[in-house]
Symmetry: C2
Subunit: 262 residues, 2 copies
């Protein structure tokens, strides 16, 4: 089965062309005055978001018409297929809408429920992480590796926003982990996982994430030598609960899981 | 007196050359593996930070030997002079040390205790804001203007980290303001004030800032049509208490001051 083997070069190439298609849209709209809609939860959704996802779906329809698609903006198509592309055209919409070039386009391929290929693309700075099962993670074409950091006590731990932890128990877990860590960094969305894959920070702890937020992150982190899981330490799948912990160093991951559990 | 008039072009030119001198250092060290020291409060201080400040001080010693200097890394020199250059070679050291190009070099000129000239420079992305009394704020050489946003209810409000609000009363003020705002953005340091000057976000609320953190921000925000003050609404000076509120729209500033006061 494909799921046991390395990801096919054709899929890796396609994932990058999907990111290119999104980039040509997002770059055009970045820092332009846009009408911005608000969803119920006030996440800003821009015209760029929808157009970028349409560009990705068009290419997928032409090249992989049988595959499933799960997208943030335009919903699901054949989502029960063995092969599903999971896309978030603009992850970090708050950064995008405030002119900050640390948002990202996320492209993932799930096979039998597990992410096997992921791209994190920052189109304005021209930065791209590509992770695929059986391949080393690449940052702008060069191998990326996480750094050694055996304990949270020496770690830089990052989180997009403390507002992610809506449940009191999640907030307590988060606070236990950050209190045990050396340095806390806020903001960043998917970009944080790229930083971790390059060995620039040590831990990312988040919650309330959707499949399209985390699917692409897993192969990038894993292929760079890191570990990414839910807060119980289980690998991320289509059925994960949206709590995510990533660590550059497997030893640090294990200790962090213990801290989250209390 | 100079303080009543527009800032001299020679000072504006010098401030930009000081930023250039720092940029040649910080760009060289960005994303390089460095030995990082920790101060007592765990702020990371890099070799780049110290070398960049030295480069700035060398140029100041040559061109304005009589002026005072206040710097984050190498202390004060003639700090009681009428004219004092206030410099922070790397504001946003956590972003710098984790490979995130939204840190900045801050250069300010204070005249008789008030900031009259400020530069926010992002050397990796090649972005620069220049604000000076009597001149419109420029972003990469083009005029920058804040946007209309009469009320916090419609505002994007930004803060580097909620850990800034160490006192319970400050934390309550912060939470009152963010609860009344539309969208909350975390992370960013000085870069947030540049975003505000360009009309990409509406409010920045922070605390625990030092003179070298805020002096350069004031002329940039003011020259773009915004308002920046302490939490009582008083202009920032060398004697401010480190609580800062910036708004793109003066009406929004007034309401936000009321929310902070409770």
């Amino acid at each position: 089965m494909a799921s046991l083997n390395a990801v096919d070069d054709g899929d890796i190439d396609l994932a990058q062309r999907l990111a290119d298609a999104a980039a040509s849209v997002t770059r055009r709209y970045f820092r332009q005055d846009l009408g911005v809609e608000a969803k119920d939860d006030l996440t800003p959704v821009t015209i760029a978001d929808r157009e970028a996802e349409s560009a990705i779906r068009e290419l997928l329809a032409a090249e992989r018409p049988g595959d499933g698609i799960v997208g943030e903006e335009h919903g699901n198509h054949n989502a029960e297929h063995d092969r599903v592309w999971v896309i978030d055209p603009i992850d970090g919409t708050k950064s995008f809408m405030t002119g900050r070039a640390i948002f990202g386009t996320l492209i993932a391929l799930m096979v039998e429920g597990s992410p096997v290929l992921g791209v994190i693309d920052q189109p304005v700075q021209g930065e791209r992480w590509v992770g695929a099962k059986g391949h080393p993670t690449l940052f702008n074409g060069q191998p990326a590796t996480t750094r050694t950091c055996p304990s949270p006590a020496a770690a830089v731990v990052a989180t997009t926003t403390p507002e992610m932890f809506k449940r009191a128990t999640d907030r307590e877990s988060f606070e236990r982990l950050t209190a045990a860590s050396a340095i806390q960094l806020y903001g960043g969305d998917c970009y944080l996982y790229g930083q971790l894959a390059c060995g620039w920070l040590d831990l990312v702890v988040e919650a309330g994430m959707n499949l399209y937020d985390y699917a692409a992150l897993a192969p990038v982190v894993t292929g760079a030598g890191g570990v990414i899981s839910d807060w119980q330490g289980a690998p991320l799948t289509g059925r994960s609960d949206g709590r995510v912990l990533a660590a550059g160093d497997p030893a640090c991951h294990e200790t962090a899981i213990g801290l989250l559990s209390g």
